[in-house]
Amino acid sequence: MRKARVNARSREIGLALLFILPSLAGFLVFFVAPAARGLYISFTDWNLLTQPKPVGLANYAALLSDQDFWNALKVTVLYVLWNIPLQTVLAIAVALVMSAAAHSSLLKGVILLPWLMPNVVVALLWVWLLDPTIGLINVAVRAFGGPLLPFLSSPSTALPTIAGINIWRYLGYTALLVFAGLQTIPTDVYEAARIDGSNGRQTFWRITLPLLRPVLAFVIVTSVLGSFQIFDTVAVTTKGGPINATKVFNYMIYQQAFERFQMGYATAVSMVLFLILVGVGLLQMKLLRAGEVET
């Protein structure tokens, strides 16, 4: 009797292994091993042609006095600041419009479209619309006697322009997440507020927004972490220029690794980015939870 049970148990373990094995192999080979290997490479000097030469912490030390690194940090943080606040406010507005619609399926479908498209496609649509010579926007502005808007071709406007392009891409997705959060607020809360004579604005600031807080926390944390890792749009539109104005972390790492073949240095920067993201994530969760009302 007992033996039979032991047998059944070990058979179940064997079966589980069969089900899990392909995914486990994929996970170990393409997630765990590269993470470990990346850490090792970051302690070496390696150009892919010769053997990696261990150099201890030299890459990390070099990074501290590398202007490119500090520029990337500055540009990336600025990008996140151009991107996230505006995107979040607009997403809340769009979500409120959605919840006011009786049948919002079509609206949801339309506004989600940009998010489903490749970054490359989104970037190209806007490169075309924003082209200085014959792009629709500039031609139209000129027709009304306006100035030439350089958008992607000037160091001062390129970064906000890229942020704008990505707000256009992610707005629908973010709004849908906020909308899903709005649906979790029970209607009798609104009903009670109305009976107490609260007007629309008061209801929004005192009820909707506080109750939306956990959802907003999730949305902001994930979109900030995503925003820190922007690459595709930069690669297609500006290649980090003009004069490094859009050389974000991922683009800098890409250039170090695949244009200069400094694998050790590039992976060291990627590890620092990883640490920064962990720090930013923890900090945000702490800030967004601070002063949370127990219910």
Binding site: A16, S23, L24, F30, R37, V110, P118, L125, W128, A180
Partner: protein
């Protein structure tokens, strides 16, 4: 609840603005793709295509010879988006089939079978969601290079073929919420777990599997950096990579906007078709995936 007139006007104005801002860039792309290249320059603000043509699509798909291409307003160089379109379909289909199947199998074990370290292994999978892609990218590139898989389909598909942490998470959630009774009855009847998986669990989770497959397909289709690194050669180049390359060409002449927008339209179409057919599921899955 009855709303005031001004509130209704405000609402419809907002909906109109949202729809216009979202859809207009797509319209402008298609309009440009259907315009004769020289007319793109001579009539930059014409709302409808000033000189309607499908020649741009013929050119970028490589359906016409060089002389005809010049007559259609192109530069005469051969562009073959047909191959890139095929490559994108092959790679995305490979990844979708592999990842959906193997992730579903693993998810089934995590949800239904008792084995040591079940929760720990699953937690380990999830922890990978926090690692930024660029950290894994360089070592994975080196691995694919060492294997001699650069510029092959398997090289582009390999890292995503066997699993993604998200796919395992998604299917595990679904299986956990699925009624066990049918499976338990089958167990009593003496059916094996493998048979139960294929004949009961998979058919019952077809909706979730389709949703996951659509999401995975769109993700693979949209990917840029990884195929740019490991699939540069024309024979395996994906559409997204090709569009990036196409933009950098033709610097000596005026840029071929009509051709570029025709290529862009090709990259938009499959997603659009999938979304029109299965959009509701994708939308519903966002509420689900958003909050764990």
């Amino acid at each position: 609840m009855k709303r005031s007139l001004s509130a209704r006007i405000l609402f419809w104005a907002a909906v109109t603005v949202i729809a216009l801002v979202t859809l207009f860039p797509f319209y402008w792309t298609v309009r440009t793709a259907l315009t004769f290249p020289r007319a793109v320059y001579s009539h930059p603000t014409a709302f409808l295509p000033p000189q309607l043509t499908i020649g741009n699509f013929e050119r970028v798909l490589g359906l016409v010879d060089a002389a005809t291409s010049v007559k259609l307003g192109g530069s005469g160089q051969t562009i073959n988006f047909f191959v890139f379109l095929r490559n994108s379909i092959v790679v995305s289909a490979l990844i979708t089939m592999g990842q959906t199947f193997f992730s579903a199998a693993a998810a089934y074990a995590f949800a239904r079978l008792r084995f040591p370290l079940n929760r720990q292994i699953f937690g380990f999978y999830l922890s990978a969601l926090m690692v930024p892609g660029i950290v894994l990218l360089i070592p994975n590139f080196i691995l694919i290079k060492t294997l001699g898989w650069l510029n092959t389909y398997q090289g582009i598909a390999a890292p995503a073929f066997l699993m993604s942490p998200f796919a395992v998470f998604f299917m595990r959630q679904f299986f956990l919420g699925m009624n066990k009774e049918l499976e338990e009855a089958a167990l009593v009847e003496g059916a094996g777990r493998v048979r139960i998986f294929f004949q009961i669990a998979v058919p019952l989770s077809m909706t979730a599997l389709t949703t996951l497959a659509v999401i995975t397909f769109i993700y693979s289709w949209n990917d840029y950096l990884w195929p740019l690194l490991v699939g540069r050669s024309e024979s395996v180049r994906m559409l997204t990579v090709a569009l990036g390359v196409f933009r950098q060409q033709g610097a000596q002449n005026l840029p071929d906007w009509a051709g570029l927008m025709a290529g862009t339209t090709l990259a938009i179409l499959p997603t659009l078709v999938l979304f029109l057919a299965l959009g509701k599921r994708v939308i519903n899955s966002i509420g689900f995936t958003g909050f764990r």
